[in-house]
């Protein structure tokens, strides 16, 4: 039997779960639920994937000349 109030509870905690911010006992409770409930499990897989995509989409590079100019700027303003 799946406890569907546990579905709502898991959904409400999805972000702290993915961010590694749940207390140990709450994390274990969410894990237990995910093992029992394939619907929530699929949703969590999707949320994990989305979080990864968001992180990837936010990657920026820093050109070397920015660092060179920063060094020069600090040397001039000290």
């Amino acid at each position: 039997m799946i406890d569907h109030s546990a579905c709502a509870e898991a959904a409400a905690r999805v972000y702290p779960f993915l961010d590694g911010e749940l207390t140990w006992i709450r994390r274990v409770k969410v894990r237990w639920h995910l093992r029992a409930c394939t619907r929530c499990q699929a949703a969590f897989v999707f949320e994990t994937y989305l979080k990864g995509k968001v992180s990837e989409g936010l990657v920026e590079e820093c050109p070397d000349d920015v660092i060179e100019r920063l060094r020069g700027f600090l040397a001039d303003n000290r």
Binding site: A42, F46, K53, V54, L58, I67
Partner: protein, 188 residues
């Protein structure tokens, strides 16, 4: 107390990630570089008040974030908090599921086809109070406690803004998917 002689050795190695942060905040390389330089100057001057053993990375992110806020926030027209979409948990997944069948791969495909180029746009559409914690959590991987420190708000506020910001982002992504014809709009 930190010694200013250590400044370059300790703080310069963070410059690349701080520039990337500044660029995500300002979206313009020239503005990002201004923010970076001004932040380093402030940090250099305040470095003797930095307590050794505390979180240097969070301290620098706080300076960069505040420099950006002071310099640019006033000029910008951003949507206010009241305009933030309020939708249910796991909104995007549920919507994609209701229009696209049950296979997880279908939702992923829908996500893949819109996310790469539009994710930034969707995040930038968030009100600043919500955009900042999302950037700090998802681009930088900061813990809630560190985000609270950087933004100078209680940890509960960080959690609720992240939660609401991410939900609004999901709504934004779903609307983009509909607009682009990747999914057909669901009938309510």
């Amino acid at each position: 107390m930190a010694d200013q002689a250590d400044f370059e050795r300790e703080v310069l190695p963070l410059a690349r990630q701080l520039y990337a942060h500044a660029l995500r905040l300002t979206r313009r390389p020239v503005d990002a570089e201004d923010v970076l330089q001004e932040s380093y100057l402030k940090a250099y001057r305040a470095y003797d008040s930095f307590e050794e053993g505390t979180n240097l990375r969070a301290w620098m992110y706080r300076i960069v974030t505040n420099t950006y806020i002071n310099k640019y926030r006033k000029q910008q027209r951003r949507p206010s908090e009241v305009e933030l979409a309020d939708v249910g948990d796991m909104y995007l997944y549920r919507r994609l599921q209701s229009v696209g069948g049950s296979a997880v791969s279908a939702e992923r495909e829908a996500l893949d086809s819109l996310i790469d180029d539009r994710i930034r746009e969707a995040i930038d559409a968030l009100p600043e109070n919500f955009r900042l914690p999302v950037l700090l959590a998802d681009a930088e991987g900061f813990a809630y406690k560190e985000i609270a420190e950087i933004l100078d708000v209680p940890i509960g506020t960080v959690m609720s803004r992240l939660h609401r910001g991410r939900k609004a982002l999901q709504k934004e992504l779903y609307d983009l998917a509909v607009e682009r014809g990747i999914v057909e709009a669901a009938h309510d």
